[in-house]
């Protein structure tokens, strides 16, 4: 069964899409025509530039509507978000650990590199949690260490080894110029160089981190916006049991 869909404006399959962008050219009729042609070149069948404005001598701003005939078979789509999987509540996680692991599970987390954003990792780890989801610290069967922000990868790994961590949480918020990619990569490379990658469940998170990216970079999973401690705890305990089975 397939289910072919297109963007919806006010009629099924009208394919209407709203766009806004800047061009490094002066505002004017020529700029608007350039904007229109550009939109058409992206595969839109129709384009109306509804607004333009100068931003500076050599820059102008455009709002345009395009009509797209492109479509997607909704049934063929596989979502790649770690939070989508059915997850356990805090109590269920604790019970799961007691029943299937039989010891406290150790979790170490930090916002790494030069990134100074703590609110994200705190939302996952601290007692208080976030948005009515308690943080990992409150889970009786977890032993957690939140190292805060601006933590060098070396330090985080050293600490994880010291406390014999089961899982390491890495938060990355600043993504400009792909700093997060190089920093996250360096973390995995360090683990691999020491031959201890497989000792830990490695979890990345942050507003611009997707599961796909995290897995590509060598993590077990990645959590983006809207993820909570329960998602993370569920992943950790399930993965741990899976690893114990091997």
């Amino acid at each position: 069964m397939s289910n072919i869909v297109r963007p919806y404006g006010d009629t099924l399959d009208d394919g209407k899409v709203q766009l806004s962008f800047t061009l490094p050219v002066p505002d004017g009729a020529k700029g608007r025509e350039a904007a229109r042609k550009l939109v058409l070149s992206w595969g839109f069948k129709d384009c109306e530039v509804v607004h333009s404005n100068p931003l500076a001598d050599e820059f102008s701003f455009y709002i345009a509507y395009g009509k797209s005939e492109a479509s997607i078979d909704y049934e063929s789509v596989v979502a790649d978000e770690a939070t989508e999987a059915a997850y356990l509540s805090m109590d269920e996680v604790n019970e799961f650990i007691k029943a299937k692991i039989g010891r406290k599970v150790v979790v170490v987390g930090a916002c790494t590199g030069f990134d100074a954003h703590t609110v994200g990792i705190d939302a996952i780890m601290n007692m208080k949690g976030y948005n009515h989801h308690f943080g990992l610290e409150r889970y009786t069967e977890l032993e957690t260490y939140n190292l805060g922000a601006q933590v060098p990868n070396e330090k985080l790994i050293e600490f994880a080894q010291k406390v014999n961590a089961d899982a390491i949480l890495v938060s990355q918020v600043v993504t400009q110029k792909e700093v997060h990619v190089s920093n996250m990569t360096q973390f995995v490379e360090l683990l691999e160089a020491k031959g201890i990658r497989n000792r830990f469940i490695c979890i990345a998170g942050g507003p611009r981190i997707g599961n796909k990216l995290a897995v590509e970079l060598g993590y077990d999973v990645g959590f983006g916006k809207g993820s909570y401690a329960d998602h993370v705890a569920t992943f950790i305990v399930r993965k741990l049991v899976e690893k114990m089975g091997n």
């Binding site: 800047t22 500076a56 820059f59 922000a149």
Partner: protein
Amino acid sequence: MKEKLGLSRDRIAEARELAERICAPVMDFVEAHSSVTVERATLRLAGADDANADGVPVPNLVVDRLRDRLEDGALKWYVNALLRQGGTVESLNRKIAEGLDVSSVPLGDEKAVRARADELVDRGFARIRAARERRDAMRAEWKGRNNDPLLYLIVATGNIHEDVKQAKAAAAQGADVIAVIRTTAQSLLDYVPYGATTEGFGGTYATQENFRIMRAALDGEAERQQRYILLTNYASGLCMPEIAAMGALERLDMMLNDSMYGILFRDINMYRTFVDQKFSRMINAVAGIIINTGEDNYLTTSDAYEKAHTVLASQFLNERFGFAAGLPAGLLGLGHAFELDPTMRNGFLYELAQAQMAREIFPDHPLKYMPPTKFMSGDIFRGLVMDSMFNFVSKATNQGIHLLGMLTEAIHTPFMMDRFIAVDNAKYVMNSIADFHDEVEFRKDGIIVRRARDVLEETIGFMKEIAGVSLFDSIEKGMFADVKRPKDGGKGLDGLVKKGPAYYNPLETRLKNEAGLR
């Protein structure tokens, strides 16, 4: 200014007395200490500049060699070397960059050193004064042509030449103030990089050359617009005083400069920060640079309703530390922010109350009002509405410096079009409520008046608590921004210097004189 909240003047005065009590022991500590960056800032104002082949700046090359002799101050060694070597300051800088170790040059006649040091200090102050006079002249020439409040925009591409394009466009769109936000991690560098830079993450390196490039570009744009464009950077982190010094020389107009931000949000040691902030503020005072304090940041880690009193308390402390460094009210851009949860019932009234409260308690200060950030999301349409509400409150309560909110705050550092939309929004809202402030009063004992009174009362209670345990201890206990910092923890403590009995720093003495502290 019309007072609308009926706040008790006695209670406000009491809060100011508490601030004095809280800050006094800190100032005693500060008096007895210097730091590596205070010494480097001193050298910079005396003419030290340039860097070696590895990019290590001359002020660092000097201070690093003197590391265990800093209790006497670094300047005399630099001046002594200058006398012994002959030639100009520039040629000495070159020699240091090429390897000359000033600490190995035997000390000569002390009187001669002092005389030459005085000349260098004179020269430094003459440059600062010239910059200040130039600014005054330009502002006088184009008086009345800036927006009120000043519209403030950030550029942050990482590349100074790209920043210039963005900044000129922002000014052309109507911004009065351009802030070049610093790159991630610069605050933790114990040196200021040298030269023009094109690589940065989430911001651009603050370097003296970058300051110069942006200043020239904005002056050009100002000329075109017949409107002075203010330039802002960050005198914060481990090099607070040096960046203030560079800003004073290159005519920056504003500096982010908070007495506690580095401690709380960058994990810089508290003693180091207090020492550095004082010196940097004296420089800002003499240079006529408006400081922007960072209270808005507290609300990113704490709840903006419950912790509103920590913002007001910090404003009182920043004011006190500012006065203690010679900054007049007119240069104290105390910070606050529109950060209440947008789903809160009557949230707008509370924002209005808190902004009006700040206005009435600090009537002569160019208050810096910050836009919503924490509750901005990927829903840029809703974000734009939140920014409009913020624009409304700002104009309706007569704020001084208005940092424009970006609809894409939760996504990326601003695109050129994001800034345009922000300026356009602010101009629309502010024009259509131009006289709202004079027109509207608040109901006696209504929600707004009560909220302001409650926050003031809570602030006094909170400050009493701090006064009871000392500011150092209250930071250690996490009383600000829910962040705990141990006294001997954090970065930069090893760069703190206890002044010896023979500590010599004529530049500091001169700063104190000119800032009216003696």
